[in-house]
Amino acid sequence: MAAASIEFKGSSFTLSVLHLKTAILADVRADLAKKVAQAPDFFYLVPIVVSIDKLNDDIDYQGIKTLIEEFNFTFVGFTGAISKEQRQLIRECGFSFINMAKANSAKKAVLVEGAVAAKSKEVVATPQRDLYTDKIHRGQIRSGQQVYAKDQNLVVIGSVSAGAEVIADGNIHVYGSLRGRAIAGATGHHKAQIYCQKLEAELVSINGNYWLSESMEEHWASPVYIQLTDNELTSSKLI
């Protein structure tokens, strides 16, 4: 069992990169202050990678890190160092160096392009749920009411009462309790999902596969999302 307690896996993330055009920290501080003042909440604790590819030597790595953290960013590491010496220095200061994807070989770029092309073909062939817009319903959906989001996702800001029915060709999101019936992927989308803050539904269905409330015992009254895996409904906790 000891081996199961951790697992290393590679994943890719989108991170914000701060490109420095000068090594003079006072200038950077002034410009950064202006930028952050525009949207302090947006930048708060945002993980940030600092790119130094526009800078020459004499970089105060520790100073940059301290400056970044002054503005409540979460410092991740440096990127864009060209010379071996720079990379060495960064390591010596105890920071990580991150390779940017575009720095990889041209061959890989071609591969990626190919994959994108293949993906876009697929999109043309079968319109995927990603393309769906949202139908937003504000307020509770009461017993006896039915809301259908044709060719759309359905977002309910409120609860769905027992005896009410929500149907969408795409996904269903309920920001409240789901006590009635929810039917996602109604016109045949096996990738459709159902999200709710509290699962107390009479019935949930995705692409024709359904559960009655007795099948929901595991995550009853919890925040849950439900999806189809190998033509079987599965539920997972949201938080």
Partner: protein, 269 residues
């Protein structure tokens, strides 16, 4: 502008008429001009609860059909002069009302009265729809049990979709939750839904909680609305409802079972 308040529930027997009578009389006792309208055509009850059943000459349907004037049909309450009752017809059915004429009657009453209380019939058919159509506010009367709560949920949906305010895209009907026949003891024993349960399901503001009480049945049979019984917990709870309707903030009472003292336990009180 008169406030038109419908007392509705979906389910029957939950206390709509009892509540209409208590609230109507309570508002009148505060000095407001109030008219109570019985929309339960064919199953007239409000006159009994108000104790004016022997004074019914003309009724709501007569007025709708132009067979009597409003003044002829309105019965003045003997206890409070600012309260009138417009009784339902016992011999006709719900189809006797139509939107246009009901609207005309409400408009005329609105010129005289501060409050128009519409006692709705049970169900979600034409009669109930007529009672809620012109409402500005709704008192959703609910018993703390699942079927009543679900029916109330249904009627709240109707208020938001089938009323005049919904059709014209005006500000929606103001909803009030009135829990009746509440027994804290049975809630504690898990036999009854709690106030919190019902509020959670219906999510509309709570107007009042009326405890289950012997005084209600006694009052109904005597034709004396229970709000007159100021000794009873139900009467006091209705009094709180009136104050809240008039904009006051009052703590909710009678929500927990009274603990029996040693003496009442010994003597079986």
């Amino acid at each position: 502008m008169a406030r038109i308040i419908v007392v509705t529930s979906g389910k029957g027997g939950v206390g709509k008429t009892t509540s209409s009578a208590a609230i109507g009389l309570g508002l009148a006792l505060k000095g407001h001009k109030v008219v109570l309208i019985d929309f339960d055509i064919g199953l007239r009850n409000l006159d009994l609860i108000m104790g004016c059943e022997r004074r019914v000459v003309y009724d709501f349907v007569n007025v709708i059909n132009g067979e009597a004037t409003l003044n002829q049909a309105l019965i003045k309450d003997k206890r409070v002069s600012s309260l009138s009752i417009l009784p339902a017809s016992q011999t006709r059915d719900k189809d006797a009302l139509n939107k246009e004429n009901v609207g005309k009657v409400l408009e005329d009453l609105g010129k005289i009265y501060d409050f128009i209380i519409c006692d709705s019939p049970a169900g979600i058919e034409a009669g109930a729809m007529m009672a809620l159509y012109y409402a500005d506010e709704a008192i959703i009367t609910t018993n703390p049990e699942v079927s009543s709560v679900r029916d109330s949920d249904r009627i709240i949906g109707m208020l938001a979709s089938r009323s005049r305010r919904a059709e014209l895209g005006l500000e929606p009907i103001k909803e009030h939750l009135l829990l009746t026949r509440y027994s804290p003891k049975r809630v504690a024993e898990g036999e009854m839904l709690s106030v919190e349960d019902v509020e959670d399901i219906l999510s509309i503001p709570l107007l009042g909680v009326i405890p289950e009480s012997q005084a209600v049945l006694k009052a109904s049979n005597a034709g004396e609305p229970v709000i007159l019984d100021t000794e009873s917990d139900a009467g006091q709870a209705y009094q709180d409802v009136i104050d809240r309707l008039l904009g006051e903030t009052i703590d909710f009472r009678f929500l927990v079972a009274e603990k029996k003292g040693i003496f009442s336990r010994m003597f079986g009180g």
